[in-house]
Symmetry: C2
Subunit: 342 residues, 2 copies
C-alpha cells in the first residue's frame, strides 16, 4: 500500500496547523467555513482516510455488528440479512458476517473471531446441532448485547426474535385435517432446534385435537437437503403400500421438490396427496398446483432484529427488558392442499 | 460495557511481568510452556480480548474485505457470498457486506464507508444503473485491490470474474431456434450492465446467424421484479394477436413466473411457447415442465473471486497480471423447451 495521508500532510499543504485541520474535519464551530471547505476538498483530493481505528480504540466502539448464521445460501436467510443490513447501515454500523455451516465447532470459532474483533453486538441463528452455548458467555459477561433469531435457545439470558412455530405447525396440520386428510406425514429438520421442535409439537397437537393417532411411520427428520428429500420421497414414501394423503413439509423447497417427485410418480396433488410447505418463498408460487404455505417474512424479521439492537446501542431501548419478540405468521391457502374444491 | 481486561491485569494476578504475559500470548519461544498455559487459562477465564485494533493500527492491515452488491436477497447472490465467506474466513479474513439496493448513489456511499473502514480489499458487483465509477478511484490510487464479479465494467483497471454471457445468450437462443421457434422473445434487465448487454448480443447474433430478423416488438427490458414480469406477460405478451413461440428470459425466476402465467392463460409449454431461463436456480427444477436454463454456479464464482484476492493479499499471486477470469457455464436442456420430443 502507498503512504498514508495524515492530517499533518493536509496541514502542511494548506499552511495551517494540524489542530485546525483536525477540528475542521470534525466540523468544529470554531473553524471558518471557507477553511473547512479547503480542508475537505484537499482531503478528498488526496484520498485522506478518517482514522476510524484510532478513534474506535479510544471510544471502545467499533460500529460493527457480528452476524453468525448457519448458511448464507437460502432465500429465507438472505432476506433476513437484507433486512438487517438495511437497518444497521442506515444507523452507521457495519455488518461482519460468518457462516457456521451447520456445525457447532465452526460456530464456536466464529464466536471467538467476533469477540476478538470487538463487535459492538452479536446477531445469531444457531447451527443445526449446537447443544452447548458456552461460546456466548464472553459476550454476556462483558455486556455485549446478543439477539438470537429464528433458531434460538432458552438456555441463555438473551433476546430472541421468532415466529410462533407451534401455532404455525398447528395451523398447517389442522388445515390438512379440514381437507379430509387422515394420514398426514411431517418432514422436518433436527428436533434439537426450536423451530423444528415447535412445528412438530403443533403437528402433534392438531392430530391429538382431531383424535387422529400419531404414527412414527409418518414422521421423518433429515437435514432437508435436496438429496435427503429425494431419498425420503423416492426410497421411502413412494415404496409404501399405503401412501399418506397429506404432507406437511417444514420448508417450501422440500414441499416443492416432494410435489415434483410425487407428480413424476403419477400421483395427483392435491387429490392423492395434499401438501403444505413453510416460508412463502417465491418457489411456492410457481409449482403446479401452487403450494399452500406459512408466510414467514424474513426481511421483516431481519429489520426487527436490527432495530431493537440499534435502539439498545443508541441508548433508546434496553434489550434486557425484552425476552422474546414474536412476529406474525399466517397460513396462505393455495391449490396444493385444496381437496375440498376439487 | 464492563471494564476491559488488559495484559496488566493478567500480569498482576499471575505475579509476572506484563512483558512475559504479552510474549506468552504471542507464543514466544522464550516463555516456559507451563507459564504459557497459566497465561492462556487466565486469559480465557477473564475474557481477555486480544487487542486486534491496536495491532491493526500498527500493521496497517485490518483483515477485513469489503463487499458491495446490488441486493442480498437473491439465491444467486447468496450463493456467491456463501462461496466468498467460506474462502476468506478460512484464510483469517472477515467480510463487511453492504447493499447498494441497485442505486448508484448508495453504491458511492457504501464505497466511502468501506474506504474509511480501511478494508484490505474490495469485492463489487455493480448496481443496476451505475454509470460513473469515480467512487472506486480512492482504492485504486491507494493500491487497495478490487475484484468485480458478475456485473462488471471495462472502464476500470481491475480484475473481473465473469461467465461468457455472450456465448450463454447465443447458446440459449440457438437452442430455441433448433426447436423450430420462429418468433423468439427476450426479456432482460438494463442494457447498461454487461451481463444483460452481452446476453442480448448473443441473442441477436444467434438470430442473425439463422437469418431470423430481429424485431423490437420481441425485446423487453425491465427491472425483473415480480411485478414487472407480471406486467410484461399479462399486459403485453398475452394481449398480442400474434404470440411468440419462444422466450429466452434472463433469469429463472422470471422464466418460472412467465411459465406459470402462460399456463394460467391456457397456453401449453413448450408446444405453444418454449422457454429458456438463466442461472439453474432450484426453482427451475420444480415447475412443470422443468425449465431449460444456463448453469451459472454462484458458489464457485464466489470461491474463485475470494481465492484470487486472498492469493494477492498473501503475496502468492498478483492481481495486476489478471484482467479477466471467465468461468464455464453451459446449457441444461429440460422439458420447457423440448418441442421436438413432444
Amino acid at each position: 500500500m502507498k503512504k498514508e495521508i495524515t492530517i499533518y500532510d493536509l496541514a502542511e499543504k494548506l499552511n495551517i496547523s494540524a489542530t485546525t485541520v483536525s477540528r475542521g474535519l470534525q466540523n468544529h464551530p470554531a473553524i471558518n467555513i471557507n477553511t473547512k471547505k479547503k480542508i475537505f476538498d484537499l482531503a478528498k483530493e488526496l484520498g485522506y482516510q478518517s482514522n476510524k481505528f484510532a478513534s474506535s480504540l479510544r471510544k471502545q466502539k467499533t460500529h460493527t455488528i457480528g452476524v453468525i448464521v448457519p448458511r448464507l445460501n437460502s432465500l429465507f436467510m438472505s432476506s433476513v440479512l437484507s433486512g438487517i443490513e438495511k437497518v444497521v447501515n442506515n444507523a452507521g454500523y457495519n455488518l461482519i458476517i460468518s457462516q457456521s455451516f451447520e456445525q457447532e465447532e465452526k460456530e464456536k470459532t466464529n464466536a471467538i473471531t467476533m469477540y476478538n474483533n470487538r463487535v459492538d453486538a452479536l446477531i445469531v441463528s444457531l447451527s443445526y446441532d449446537s447443544a452447548d452455548f458456552t461460546h456466548f458467555n464472553n459476550f454476556i459477561n462483558k455486556g455485549i448485547p446478543i439477539v438470537f433469531f429464528d433458531r434460538v435457545t432458552d438456555s441463555l439470558p438473551v433476546t430472541k426474535v421468532v415466529i410462533d412455530n407451534f401455532k404455525a405447525g398447528y395451523d398447517a396440520t389442522m388445515h390438512l385435517i379440514e381437507q379430509n386428510c387422515k394420514s398426514i406425514m411431517h418432514i422436518t429438520g433436527n428436533l434439537t432446534r426450536n423451530v423444528y421442535k415447535d412445528r412438530y409439537e403443533g403437528y402433534r397437537k392438531a392430530l391429538a385435537d382431531s383424535y387422529i393417532p400419531f404414527s412414527d411411520d409418518l414422521f421423518i427428520t433429515n437435514d432437508l437437503s435436496e438429496q435427503e428429500i429425494y431419498n425420503a420421497v423416492t426410497n421411502n414414501i413412494l415404496k409404501r403400500k399405503q401412501l399418506p394423503d397429506g404432507l406437511f413439509a417444514t420448508n417450501d423447497s422440500a414441499a416443492a421438490y416432494a410435489l415434483t417427485l410425487f407428480k413424476e410418480a403419477g400421483l395427483k396433488v392435491p387429490e392423492d396427496i395434499a401438501i403444505v410447505g413453510f416460508n412463502n418463498d417465491f418457489i411456492s408460487k410457481v409449482t403446479e398446483p401452487a403450494i399452500t404455505t406459512i408466510n414467514y417474512p424474513g426481511n421483516e424479521m431481519g429489520e426487527n432484529v436490527a432495530r431493537i439492537l440499534i435502539n439498545h446501542l443508541d441508548g433508546e431501548g434496553d434489550l434486557s427488558l425484552t425476552s422474546t419478540v414474536i412476529l406474525n405468521s399466517e397460513l396462505i391457502v393455495r391449490g396444493s392442499s385444496l381437496k375440498s374444491k376439487v
